[in-house]
């Protein structure tokens, strides 16, 4: 008698291009966890996955779009939000999600981020902040803390620059939903992503993640498990805190929660109303 061995498949596997696995991520990387969060959020909402478009820029996080089994697009570095705006405006029925890294979203693509916030265009941006350019081997970026080491801010001096606080940046630029979680707060993060998708407006969710291979090694932060444990220790949940108080001090205190959830006119809805007005 032959027994058929049935492999247990991951409950989110239905959203993933399994024929592309194993994925490119290093052991201990947070991007896989974030991919799961996004899949969970979509699953919880029960929306038609064919109507979901997943867009990313370039970077390790930028590769995530390629693993989703729906319409997905890997744009040039920094331009995921600009691409997403074109998609959403041309077809507002689509659910548009951007997943990309801190460098992609806040350095080369920083201008697109703030202007999309200002327009309050309906999309959900999930930004994995691993404090460096992971894909190119760990150079400092727009969220790297002062004096941190990286391949381009080597010891003994470290980073000359000071980081953006992405929550403050998105909130002050006009996003209507802003949250921050660490990669270990998977359920809370997935719920915020879910809320972000439901929100009619621009939603920005920062996920503070670990890049043990590059940022971790440069700063002697340990392996992936150690780094994720650290995130759990320093995460401080402060839902509803004014966004300008949402501090991020990697060693001591990462304020997490939902900081902005406001109602304001959404870009594509406004366009649609304007058209109706002309038609009279």
């Amino acid at each position: 008698m032959t027994t058929v061995q049935k492999t247990l498949s991951h409950p989110m596997a239905k959203y993933i291009r399994e024929d592309r696995l194993p994925w490119i991520y290093c052991p201990g990387c947070s991007v896989g966890i974030v991919t799961n969060m996004v899949a969970r959020a979509i699953d919880n909402l029960g929306i038609d996955f064919n109507k979901v478009v997943i867009i990313s820029g370039i970077g390790c996080t930028g590769r995530s779009s390629g693993y989703f089994k729906t319409g997905s697009f890997h744009t040039t570095h920094g331009r995921a939000i600009a691409f997403a705006e074109g998609v959403k405006i041309a077809n507002p029925d689509l659910e548009v999600i951007v997943i990309s890294g801190d460098g992609d979203i806040a350095a080369i693509g920083g201008n697109h981020l703030i202007h999309a916030c200002r327009r309050n265009i309906d999309m959900t941006v999930v930004c994995v902040n691993n404090f460096n350019y992971g894909m190119t081997g760990g150079q400092f970026g727009p969220t790297t803390e002062h004096e941190r080491y990286s391949q381009t801010s080597p010891p003994p001096i470290g980073n000359y620059e000071h980081p953006f606080n992405l929550v403050k940046l998105a909130a002050s630029s006009g996003a209507s939903f802003v949250a921050r979680w660490t990669a270990v707060q998977a359920r809370r993060a997935a719920r915020s992503i879910q809320k972000g998708i439901e929100k009619e407006g621009f939603s920005f969710i920062e996920i503070v993640g670990a890049c043990p291979t590059a940022f971790g090694r440069s700063n002697r932060l340990g392996d992936g498990v150690t780094m994720h444990k650290h995130l759990l220790e320093v995460a401080e949940i402060q839902n509803g805190l004014p966004p300008h108080e949402a501090e991020l001090d990697y060693d001591n205190r990462i304020v997490c929660g939902e900081f902005v959830n406001i109602e304001k006119p959404e870009y594509t809805a406004v366009i649609s109303r304007m058209r109706d007005r002309i038609e009279g």
Binding site: R17, R20, N50, K51, V53, I55, S65, G66, F68, K69, T70, G71, S72, F73, H74, T75, T76, R79, A82, F83, A84, E85, G86, V87, I89, A90, N91, D93, L94, N111, H112, H115, I271, M274, R275, I278
Partner: protein, 381 residues
């Protein structure tokens, strides 16, 4: 109140291009204002909402063109319009559009360069940029209208070619063509031939998003359809999956080039004027071709057998037509509003026939008398 245009207008080239785009079915414009292309944006801002389309003014040209690529993947015909400095910012995204085979139209109303140059003066300095500006080996389609009517007609044609070959298409108009006012006749809707991209018909489980048909063009699914696909600027196989294999790179790049080059006869559009018995041929496009036409009429009156080959498309370059012309005439003159760009293409296709460049890197084109002068000089040799 709607500002529906008359079917016959006295208008400028920029506006004719915008109306051509709308007639072609364009319903998404992403742009950033720049002289001398601003009138296209302004016209679109008024007209798009009337047609339930979108005019979106972005923070820069990079966002503009990238959003156009995004819009195109929803099945919407989409465009942008700009001038040299804006095109320079768009170049990386043009490569993305080539690599992901995204239909789009980019109207470049060419002004004096390099850099900020002469914003209000025309030039034809971006011809090679259109062909070679983005990195890597690729082909592009470039149309060069020379009148207000052609701004309309060739913008329609640009959309048709973009849809047919799944590629970005440039409309390369010098500022004079963009800003001149002439009569425009907008044809009846039924008389405008439109081409729409091929869509997949196979079962979604069998869909290979980058598997081309015999014409080298793959059918294109759109976001929100029953087809799932991943498109990336990375080198990819027929499934659309990234690959660093040598054969995948060679196959993809060869196909992307060949789908334009092997269909060149279908794309190339030339006008021959008085060439049948010509001994001296002028090759020109855009505004200088208008001077050249007049010059040829004058030369003919004086008994000189001169003719004009007017390029309505410059990319893919009409190599065969120029090579053939070179065997029929004794001398070719290339008149361009730059330091000589298409000239180099003519030289490589037309050798060993002598080829003379009349260059002019400034706003006023070669005047008819200047071209007549050159024709006479050559004729008396």
């Amino acid at each position: 109140m709607k500002s529906l245009p008359e079917r016959v207008m006295f208008t400028m080239g920029d506006i004719a291009a915008a109306e051509g785009a709308l007639s072609a079915g364009c319903r998404y414009f992403g742009g950033y204002p720049i002289t001398p292309a601003t009138e296209i944006a302004e016209w679109m801002a008024r007209r798009m909402p009337e047609l339930r389309g979108a005019y979106v003014q972005y923070e820069d040209e990079i966002a503009s063109i990238t959003s156009v690529i995004g819009a195109s993947w929803t099945g919407t015909k989409a465009m942008t319009a700009t001038s040299g400095p804006g095109v320079s910012l768009m170049l990386e995204a043009i490569g993305l559009a080539v690599m992901t085979e995204t239909p789009l139209v980019l109207v470049n109303i060419m002004r004096g360069g390099p850099s900020t140059g002469q914003p209000t003066r025309g030039q034809q300095g971006d011809i090679m940029q259109a062909k070679w500006g983005s990195h890597g080996d690729y082909q592009i389609i470039g149309l060069t209208p020379a009148s207000v009517q052609e701004m309309f007609d060739q913008t329609v044609q640009a959309f048709n070619l973009a849809e047919k070959y799944r590629t970005p298409v440039f409309v390369l108009a010098d500022e004079t063509v963009g800003h001149m006012r002439e009569k425009l006749v907008i044809p009846d809707e039924k008389d405008i031939k439109l081409v729409n991209r091929k869509q997949p018909t196979v079962d979604p489980s069998e869909y290979l998003p980058f598997k081309a048909d015999d014409d080298l063009v793959p059918p294109m699914a759109v976001f929100g359809s029953k087809y799932q696909f991943y498109a990336t600027g990375l080198t990819h196989d027929e499934r659309g999956y990234p690959s660093d294999k040598e054969n995948i790179q060679i196959d993809l790049i060869t196909r992307l080039n060949d789908k334009i080059l092997k269909n060149a006869d279908d794309i190339i559009d030339l006008e021959k004027y008085q060439l049948d018995d010509a001994k001296i041929a002028v090759i020109a496009y855009g505004t200088p071709s208008r001077s050249a036409r007049r010059a040829i009429a004058i030369a003919r009156e004086e008994g000189i057998k001169a003719g004009l080959l007017r390029l309505k498309t410059v990319w893919p370059f009409p190599e065969e037509a120029v090579a053939e012309l070179a065997t029929e005439v004794d001398h070719i003159i290339v008149a361009e509003q730059n330091m000589g760009q298409i000239y180099h293409m003519v030289r490589s296709a037309g050798a060993p026939t002598p080829i003379t460049l009349m260059r002019k890197p400034a706003g006023m084109p070669q005047l008819p008398e200047e071209i007549v002068q050159k024709i006479k000089e050559i004729d008396s040799q």
